[in-house]
Point group: C2
Chain length 250, copies 2
């Protein structure tokens, strides 16, 4: 795995040098079209039938606050256009059947890859979260309950754990709203600490899409909106994933 | 735990309202003095004898690159003024005998608290890192090797995992360089993806200390400096921790 990873790194470095501009990915084609509609992205992202475990479902560790707000949004999926996003163990599961950009060859000799925000699988100890997305309004709401393994200052969530939760919510929103695939910029202003075990509600909004970039904002606050935990902005690079040529080989 | 945490949150919200200014902590006293020297902070932070497990020591998962750079810096601790920082399971261990600011009463009815960047204890699967600090130069170097539980795009570290690593390196640097305790701002520009299993070297520098704030910069790159993974800046709030009145009760 190490060798493959380093080869990827070397390849990235080489192509970057050829382009003579700093970029997160090799071979950026500014003329690339972003033809997939949000509806088709959402319907691919939320398979009706799957054997994959969805980690964004209530469990015994969810606080009453988290559970009741989850139920509230679940009601809104029936009539108000909101979509509950599934959350699988790895982004590999989310992009099944799609090809990564050339130069980004994913190492595959590990059996247990986990998306960072699902790294801890003991209920209630790490990340508990669920994201709802609104395709028309291009906004998301993430219900986030940090567990004791996400500690920073004693009794409170680590600033980095909130940063990662924001990045992940931005990431899923950017992908579904406009094929945003890679974080370019993340700017966070922290206001108050989140007590471990309590609920933080992240409201993400796509502000604009320009020059192959999605610009988003986020505010994380208590459910009653009395306490603002942090505000942030994020910029993501658009990148259209193509269908694998041999989907039957998956 | 839930009730206590929510009480803390309520208290924070209430005091914040009284102050009528957004702040991360209640009762900020601008006249507070920051009298502890970096040397005394470092010597308290790095106890010569302790029963606590230090997670910042080599293990079988460390790549040859990580291991050899670790040895290089270890040599520099003997003659060049660098200090290897220990990394315990929780910040509670790091601030033993010190009192948190009023209003921040740490919940304590969980036995297994973990600092976020040590949340995964299976060697090589999550965060592998070690921080070296230079008290005179007020700079740090963090050797960071992300494992497969830190994945974002298939085969690469999640942007949020690097954000958290930067925040944690900023945090330890800010505390030792000038009693910086809480992240106020974190701004990250991502340039290239870090392949899982490879080494990223984070160089953190304290740029200035002004108005009770520490301003820091960070660059994360490959060991050969050919590939820049990300650049960031961080602002931390200074806060002097006091000795517990009854240290024998700890």
């Amino acid at each position: 795995m190490m060798r493959r990873s380093l080869q990827v790194a070397a390849r990235l470095g080489h192509r970057r040098a050829l382009l003579r501009t700093p970029c997160i990915l090799p071979g950026l084609d500014p003329a690339a079209a972003f033809g997939s509609s949000t509806d088709s992205l959402v319907s691919r992202f939320c398979p009706e039938k799957t054997d994959l475990k969805d980690y964004a479902l209530p469990n015994a560790s969810w606080s009453p606050d988290m559970l009741s707000l989850y139920q509230e949004f679940l009601e809104k999926t029936k009539s108000d256009g909101w979509v509950k996003l599934p959350s699988f163990q790895s982004n590999r599961d989310h992009i099944q059947g799609l090809k990564l950009p050339s130069g980004l060859v994913a190492a595959s000799d590990k059996s247990d890859w986990r998306i960072f925000t699902r790294c801890i699988q003991v209920e209630g100890q790490g990340y508990e979260y669920v994201i709802f997305f609104h395709p028309c309004k291009k906004k998301s709401v993430c219900l986030f309950q940090p567990g004791p393994y996400l500690e920073g200052p004693p009794g409170f969530a680590h600033g980095g754990s909130l940063a990662a939760m924001m990045d992940e919510t931005f990431s899923k929103t950017a992908y579904l709203a406009g094929e945003g695939l890679f974080t370019l910029n993340l700017n966070i202003r922290f206001k108050n600490l989140i007590p471990v075990g309590s609920l933080a509600v992240l409201n993400v909004q796509v502000e604009k899409i320009e020059d192959q970039k999605l610009y988003m904002s986020c505010i994380a606050q208590s459910r009653d909106q009395e306490t603002v935990y942090a505000k942030s902005s994020g910029v993501f690079l658009q990148w259209q994933l193509e269908e694998e040529s041999s989907p039957e080989s998956l």
